[in-house]
Symmetry: D2
Subunit: 156 residues, 4 copies
C-alpha cells in the first residue's frame, strides 16, 4: 500500500492510441486501489484515462491545467488546478509525484520526463520515450505499477 | 454546503501575527466543515493554519509549493505540489480557487490578489489589502465564509 | 547616463487612455536617450509607446511576451521573447529591471508592482496604483525619469 | 546575414567538457558575426562561452536567468533577465529563438529541446541528445551555423 507521500505523476498525450489509453486506465486503477494519488496535466487522452482508472478504484485525482479555466479539466478530476502557464505547467506535473510514469506521448511528455529526471524523480516509460537514458521501461501496466511500488520501498 | 467546483484559495504570510493565524484557522475550519477544498501556497503561517482548521474539520487541503522538494510543505497538507517556480507559483494559487480569501499578507499576497482579480475570481480581504479596489472585506472568519458561500450561490 | 546594469521595467495596459500613452512615449524617450534598456510585456498600448519612445532615442527595447509566437510582439521591440507563460510572464517583467515604472494599468499591472516590491525593486507609479504602500508617485514623465536616475545613484 | 527575426537559442550545461565549451564559443562567434542575437539561460559553461563568442564578434547576448538576482548572470550578457522561475525558465529559453542549438547538455537541456520541438522550433544537437527523433546533428560549429542559416532561409 502507498505510504504518506504517495503521489504519482502520469504523463501522456491528449490524443493517444487505444493501446496507450487502456494502459493508462489499468495503471490508474492499480494506483488508485493501493491508495496512490494520481497527478496529471488534467487533459483528455492518457491523462483522463489514468484518472478514470484511479477514480474507479476510489483513488484521488489531481489535474494541473495549462489554462485558466477550471472547466477545461477532464471529467475524472477531484482537484482541478488551472495554472495559466500553458505547457509551462509540465514542470509542476513532473515535480508533483514521487515518480513519473510516461505512457507513450510526444514532445510535451518529453519535457515532463526531462524535468522529472533533472529533479531526481525516477521515471518509467511505456512506448515512445524508452530510448531516453536513465528511464525504466514497462511493457505492461503491472510492470509500471511494480516500478512505482519499488520507488516507494527505496525511499522508506 | 459546497457544490461541485468548491475549491477556495487562501493567501497570507508565512510570518503572520497571531490574530491572522487565528482568523485563518477558524476560516479553514468553516470551509472544511462545509466540504470546501482549501488551496494555498503550502507554507507556514496563515497557509498552515488555514489547512490545520480545514483538516480538523475533515476537509481536503492542497499546497502549491515554491520549491521542488515536497518535504518543504507544511504538515497539514493532503496534496503537496512542488512547482519549482518560486513565487511564480502565486498565480497558480490565485487561479486554483473559485474565489480567494487573503488574510493579512504582504506583497506576495498582493500578487495573488492581483492575479485573482485579473482572472475574474472574486476576492475577499481581511486586513492589509482591503484598500484594493474591487475586493470585499471581512472583519471576521464568519464574514469571509459568507463571502465564499455567496460566490458559490452566484455561480449556480 | 545609465550605468552597467541599467534596465528599466515599464508596466501598463494594452488598452490605455491617450494621456498614459503620451506619458509612456515620453518616458521611453528619456530612458533611451540616457542609455537605459526598456523591458516590458511586449504588447500594445503603454508597452508599445514606451518602446517607441526608447527606439526614437536610439535605446534598446525588450518584450517578454505572454504567448509562444514572436510575431505577436509590438513593432517597436529589438528583442522579442515569447514565454508561453500567459500573464505568468509578469513576474519576469517585474524582475527584469533595476526598478519598475507603472503607467496607469489594471490588475495585470498590479501583479507586476507586487512582484517588483516583493523582490526589492523600487517602484514608481503614474496614476492608478499610486495608492499602494511603498511606491513612489510621478505626475510627469520627467519625475518618473528622475526616480529611475535616483535608483541608479543609490545603487552605485 | 541574419534577417529581421534572428534570435538563436543556445542550450547546454553549466559544467561542460572543454570540447563543448570550444564548440559553443566558436558557434557564438559565427552567430555574432552574422548579426544573430544569442539567447541562453545566462549561466556559466556552454551558455557563457556562446555569449563570449558572440560578444567577441560584436553580437548581442541575452540571458534568461533561473533566479531573481541579475548579478548571477554570466559576465558576457548584454541583457540580463532574472525570472525567478528556476528551471521553469527553460521554456522561455527554448521559445526565444527561431531555432535552438543544444551543445552537449544533460536533462535540463533535454527539457529545452522538448519545448522547442513542441513549439515547432527547429533543433540541432551536438553530442548528447542527437538520439532524439526530429533533431538535426552538427559535428562542428560550422555545421550548426549552417543549420541556423538554413532555418532562416526556409522562413523567408
Amino acid at each position: 500500500m502507498a505510504g504518506p507521500f504517495s503521489t504519482v505523476s502520469i504523463a501522456g498525450s491528449a490524443d493517444a492510441p487505444e493501446e496507450d489509453l487502456a494502459f493508462a486506465r489499468r495503471l490508474g486503477y492499480l494506483l488508485g486501489s493501493s491508495g496512490y494519488t494520481v497527478v496529471c496535466g488534467g487533459g483528455p487522452g492518457v491523462m483522463e484515462e489514468a484518472c478514470r482508472g484511479a477514480r474507479d478504484a476510489g483513488g484521488l485525482t489531481v489535474g494541473i491545467l495549462p489554462g485558466t479555466d477550471p472547466s477545461e479539466g477532464n471529467p475524472c478530476l477531484d482537484i482541478v488546478l488551472p495554472t495559466g502557464l500553458g505547457l509551462g505547467r509540465n514542470r509542476a506535473v513532473a515535480l508533483a509525484g514521487s515518480c513519473l510514469v510516461a505512457v507513450g506521448g510526444a514532445n510535451g511528455t518529453l519535457s515532463e520526463i526531462a524535468y522529472a529526471l533533472q529533479a531526481g524523480r525516477p521515471v518509467c516509460c511505456h512506448g515512445t520515450w524508452s530510448v531516453i537514458p536513465g528511464v525504466a521501461q514497462a511493457a505492461t501496466p503491472e510492470e509500471a505499477f511494480s516500478f512505482v511500488e519499488e520507488c516507494g520501498r527505496r525511499r522508506s
